[in-house]
Structure formats: C-alpha cells, structure tokens
C-alpha cells in the first residue's frame, strides 16, 4: 500500500504504516494512495484515502478501517464488532474475514478520492450498498464458482 503513483516513496509496508501510525497518534489525518484492488468495486488501486484517528464510536459497521491483521496491514470494511475485537472484510473478497484486536486499529477512512472526485464513504447510501454487497457474498461466491466451472469445461 505504500507504493505511490505521484511521488517516489517506495518503502516496505511495515515501515510506511509505522509512519502512518505515528502521524495518526499525534492526532493528524493522513492521506495516501491505496495499492491493490481488495476493496473493489467501491475503492480501486490508485484511489486516495484520508485516514483519521479513531475512537470506539467511530467503529461502526460499514466503515472502512485501517488495521494490522495477521496477514499484514489491511484497509477493509468493518462487518462485525464486539467490545474487544472487530471483523473486517475486503469488498472484493468472497470468503476471507480478518479478526482484529481493537488495539491493532490505526484509524478509519473519512473520505476517499478517485480521479480527484471525492467519494463520501461514510454516507448512508455508500454504507448501505457496501453492506448489501457483503451480504451477497454467498451468491457472489456461487457465481464465481459457476464461472470457474464453465471455464474448465
């Protein structure tokens, strides 16, 4: 995710996010370019996101969260939570869900930018559509499997 389209910052993810964490801890927001397509169709590779420091009330279902998971740093959507943990899912993923300790959360996305156009990821419409998209996972998985089968034959 640290790769950069406009500048030339090419550092390892863990170094980049350590820096992001430090900036967020000082109470500032951070803007960076996302790398990868795990949040498609809602966010794509090359879009920018503004991350803000969070408090517990910001951790609502449907919000996009930056956190450290077992698989490294992820920028995925909050799909469930309890008092100590949250569960994240990439919009584009069909099965995987990441279980995250609250302490491993870095911040949440306040807004995104795609080709200089602002995407209000906290709007009611965005959150409703994205959660509907998540609920459709079994159907999306089914369609995906059918496609794979058709391709094989």
């Amino acid at each position: 995710m640290s790769q950069n389209l406009e500048g030339t910052l090419r550092v390892a993810n863990n170094i980049f996010f350590k820096e992001v964490k430090e900036i967020l801890s000082s109470g500032k927001d951070v803007l960076f370019t996302i790398n990868g397509n795990s949040m498609r169709p809602f966010l794509s590779h090359g879009d920018k996101v503004l991350i803000s420091p969070h408090n517990y009330n910001d951790l609502k279902i449907g919000k996009i969260i930056l956190a450290k998971s077992k698989f490294g740093y992820v920028l995925h959507r909050l799909v469930w939570k309890n008092n100590t943990k949250i569960w994240l899912a990439g919009d584009n993923n069909l099965v995987q869900i990441e279980e995250i300790e609250i302490k491993d959360i870095l911040g949440f996305v306040k807004y995104a930018e795609s080709n200089k156009e602002r995407i209000n990821v906290q709007s009611f419409v965005h959150i409703t559509l994205s959660m509907l998209w998540f609920i459709l996972r079994p159907l999306r998985l089914f369609i995906y499997k059918i496609k794979v089968l058709l391709r094989l034959k």
């Binding site: 500048g7 980049f16 820096e19 992001v20 109470g27 927001d29």
Partner: protein
C-alpha cells in the same frame, strides 16, 4: 534561488522525503524522495536565498569530498536544482 516554504523533510525508514503538511493533515500520496545529502542540504537551504556556489561550499564543508572534482560536484548540484525545479519545489530562480 529559494526553496518553497511550508514543506518539511521526514525520514521514513531509510528514506528521506519532502512532505507538505497541511492543517491537521499529512499528505503521503505526494512525496519527493531525497538521498541523505540532499535531505541535509534541504534543511540548510530552507528559508533563505542561495546560489549554486553556496550549495557546493556547504557540501564541501560537511563531507569529505576532496576526491570529487568541483566539476562533478557542480553537476550533482545542478541535477538536484533541476529536480527541485521540475517538481515545483523552488519558488524563485
């Protein structure tokens, strides 16, 4: 010449980058990478008018560059000035 105001050098891992902090926000989507010497020079040259000779003198004073010809050093500094220019990091020439 003069460097653009309001930018700061940050060390991220082993890299030095120039970032533009805005009110309550840091933009890491648009950064300029510098090597250690260039980062050091940036901090020396900030907030003042300078010339090519000034840059060469600063580097000569700080680093052991006896082995490097003035011509080579001049070329390097010109490259750096061009990099600043191309990225809009100079406010006057």
């Amino acid at each position: 010449m003069r460097l653009k105001e309001g930018l700061t050098v940050r060390k991220i891992g082993e890299d030095y980058v120039i970032v533009a902090p805005e009110q309550g926000m840091l933009d890491l989507s648009k950064v300029y990478s510098l090597n250690e010497t260039a980062a050091w020079l940036w901090e020396k040259l900030e907030h003042e008018d300078f010339e090519l000779d000034h840059m060469i003198q600063l580097v000569r004073d700080r680093y052991d560059v006896e082995s490097i010809s003035t011509q080579q050093l001049e070329e390097d500094m010109k490259d750096l000035i061009n990099f600043f220019k191309q990225n809009g990091l100079l406010i006057s020439e």
